[in-house]
Amino acid sequence: MTSTENTPAATPVKKQLTIKVFGVGGCGGNVVSHISRAGFADVQLIVLNTDSQALAQCPLPYKFNLGLGLNGGLGAGGDPERGRAAAEEDEARLRELCTGVDLVFICAGLGGGTGTGAGPVLARVAKACGALSLAFVTLPFECEGPKRMKQARLGLEEFKAAADGVICLPNQKVFKLIDENTSVIETFATTNDLLAQGVRGLWQLVTRPGFINLDFADLCAVVRNRHSESSFASAEATGPHRAKEVVEKLLANPLLDGGAALGEADALLVSLMGGSGLTMAEVSRVMEQINRHAENAHLIMGAAIEESLGDRLTVTLVASRQPVNPPAAPKAPEAEVPEPESTPRAGTGFDLLGAAIASKPVPRASALKSEASQAPAVLTEVAPDAALSAPMAVSRSWRSRKKAKVAHPELGLETVTTGPFQQSEPTRHNGVNLDVPTFVRRGLVMN
């Protein structure tokens, strides 16, 4: 028989995911406000803060004042302990907010009290409610002083232990992206924009019906329970050589340490978006170049058409590396907190948010305590495949043969294609979605 009737492809419909983006603390609130301006559909943006004044200034509808009983709406005063206590006071409320949610993004600036202390509590609650929790955090400028930095690093460890994944953006690195003379406010705006792009890139990756479509399950498969720290970067290019240029721009991005972050990455999420002119060949070309720089990484990619982009091609990339010793529980706080490498430029202890904080009573911090209860509340899931594969004797001679042969590359793009396989479950094999054309996964260029 020869005829292959193709049933008309229905427009790809994705399971409606419930996604919430939380901004915790002053920085978090700013980032989320920025996201709201970027026009997200179907996402609930929620701002949490201990500081009622800051909340009042926030233009978003969903706000919640944490720890009113404890702090009286006066903020955490740069003390993560108070931030944590505030969140724990309202844990029941946080649980309500996270119930039934599939994906929780948490944006926070580390170094202060609220984001640093309350953020990890929220991440833990979100995970306990069954959501995939991803944190987007900033580290302070060097000039904010070693104390803030130390506080921030501790917070980062707690985030890593509590959330499925943490994407970390040091403000200092962003500084390098822009002109030295840029004001702090403008630098913040740039960072906020970058964080918003990161959230949007991931959001688009899991919700948008692309022609190479990424599934929420794919994201979970790579991120869940990894407790990893990630870098991310985003770039845009136009013109006939945009596929090449966009990758060059990405690699030049200081956030990726000149591409070094790719080489170290063991998992990589790539989200491509372009106007209707975006071709498979361009997708292949971008992926091929990225593949070359990320040889050890497990790749996830999604590509989507966004008419409004016109001639622009944007690529958002999240590179994550498995922690050497995955933080099952937070480490003893004093033990291994890396001091910031370089000495701050301005006077130590200078607080960038001085103006905002100075007006409040500032009980300078008691010693940080990190409790075992901060460990992730959800048991680690066993990969479903692991349970199925029956243990079998392995012939030695064959093993060596396999090595020599260099089977298909380990990297695999995890995507869900539209088209003929829509009605059936994706063919997964060792975490690779085989429905994605082999040549795309191997990064072969076709034109």
Binding site: T4, T427, P437, M446
Partner: protein, 410 residues
């Protein structure tokens, strides 16, 4: 002289594959001598199946009816029941082991002991939503002596049994059964399609020497490993010719799936040899030269997929340690066996001599036995013949069939 009163007794057996591209019904008869002859074929393009599983029961029912009606006409019989093949990514296989220990070492093994060791081998962990499709006896071991086929009457204290089990998600196994029953047809038995295909292609010598059968279909690729005369391993990848077509339609820039399928069949091959620098000019429906396709790219895309699929199978059988046991090489069937150069590609990936399988185990209509796409349906007839031959004797084989559980009709 023709004996009108005692004509040669024949049994009619029908094999039905509800495949991803076609539904095939093959009618065969078992002669008194035990041979199997194909006497009729019915086929219909399949519209309700993806990756080997029914996704649209109404369309599937219509296509099955058409195939059955055609088969009835072709063989001039009325079909009341079929042996039905099943496949799908939900199937899992494993080898299990059962042990029976007697009180003394000079115990004479009796049929109840065999029953017990069988029951023991059946104890393995599987998800509660799964049903056992096959529990195939491999061989017995008595007091450490392996390779025994029938231990009854032998002396020994410790009887062991190795078994190959295939199980799958109950609801997904029942989908095609429901389609067939909805047409007032009985399902004699459900058979893993890879097993059926292997029965069509292989003779006993190949099974003894060790052989790998690969059925490369449209939605799935099944594989079966035989060694020492028994099934050692089975597997299935929900990858097939549809993936090749989809890869092409992606990679050759907006080529429609129908066009990609046509390009695959007409210009496809499992090698890039001789394709360098060549272009194909496609003509649109209204006869204009439409656009050009780079033949080398077409081939590269195909080779990437085919090589990967073989490699995944090779990895699996290698991991199970069967690689050195396949002295009769590899045997290919399914529509994928029609791809030019597929045997050479298989040879290079598996490192084993590869042949394109013909249904050697069966006689009758050549159009059925020589068609790689009909291996499954033809093999089902062979399977039915083996079963029905074993049936009157009851005994071990008769009991084994009950392991098929609620899905078996008997």
């Amino acid at each position: 002289m023709l004996n009108l009163f005692f004509p040669e007794k024949t049994t009619v057996i029908v094999g039905l594959e509800i495949g991803t591209t076609k539904v095939a019904a093959v009618v065969g008869e078992v002669t008194e001598a035990g041979g199997v002859n194909v006497t009729g074929i019915g086929q219909c393009p399949s519209r309700g199946v993806r990756k080997g599983e029914v996704v649209n029961a109404d369309l599937a029912a219509e296509d099955v009816r058409n195939a059955i009606v055609e088969a009835e006409k072709s063989a001039n019989v009325e079909i009341a029941s079929v042996y039905l093949s099943v496949t799908g990514g939900h199937l899992t296989s494993l080898n299990t082991h059962g042990v029976f220990t007697a009180t003394s070492d000079d115990h004479e093994i009796s049929p109840p002991d065999v029953t017990e060791v069988l029951a023991n081998a059946k104890v393995f962990s599987r998800p509660s939503e799964n049903t056992v499709l096959h529990a195939i006896r491999q061989h017995f071991t008595l007091n450490g002596q392996a390779g025994i086929t029938d231990p009854v009457g032998m002396l020994g204290g410790k009887l062991e049994l190795d078994m190959h089990v295939v199980h799958g998600v109950t609801t997904r196994l029942q989908n095609p059964v429901r389609v067939v029953k909805g047409l007032n047809l009985e399902v004699e038995e459900l058979v893993f399609s890879g097993l059926a295909s292997s029965l069509a292609l292989l003779d006993n010598e190949q099974k003894q020497m060790g052989v790998l059968v690969v059925d490369f279909g449209a939605g799935t690729t099944e594989y079966v490993v035989y060694a020492d005369g028994v099934i050692k391993h089975t597997g299935i990848l929900a990858v097939g010719g549809d993936h090749v077509t989809n890869d092409l339609s992606y990679g050759l820039r907006k080529v429609s799936p129908a066009r990609a399928e046509q390009l695959k069949r007409e210009h496809g091959a499992a090698t890039i040899e001789g394709a360098a620098g060549q272009t194909l000019t496609l003509t649109s429906e209204n006869g204009f030269d439409d656009r050009r396709v780079n033949l080398e790219h077409l081939r590269r895309i195909m080779v990437a997929r085919l090589e990967e699929t073989f490699q995944l199978i090779d990895d699996d059988i290698g991991e199970q340690g069967f690689h050195e046991q396949l002295r009769a090489g590899v045997c290919l069937c399914g529509g994928g066996a029609r791809i030019r150069g597929i045997d050479q590609l298989a040879e290079s990936v598996f490192g084993l001599p590869t042949t394109l399988g013909r249904a050697n185990a069966v006689g009758g209509l050549r159009s059925a036995t020589d068609d790689p796409e009909l291996a499954t349906a033809v093999g089902l007839v062979k399977y039915g013949a083996i079963r029905q031959k074993a049936q009157p004797q009851g005994g071990l084989v008769g009991k084994l069939r009950n392991l098929a559980g609620s899905l078996g009709i008997f």
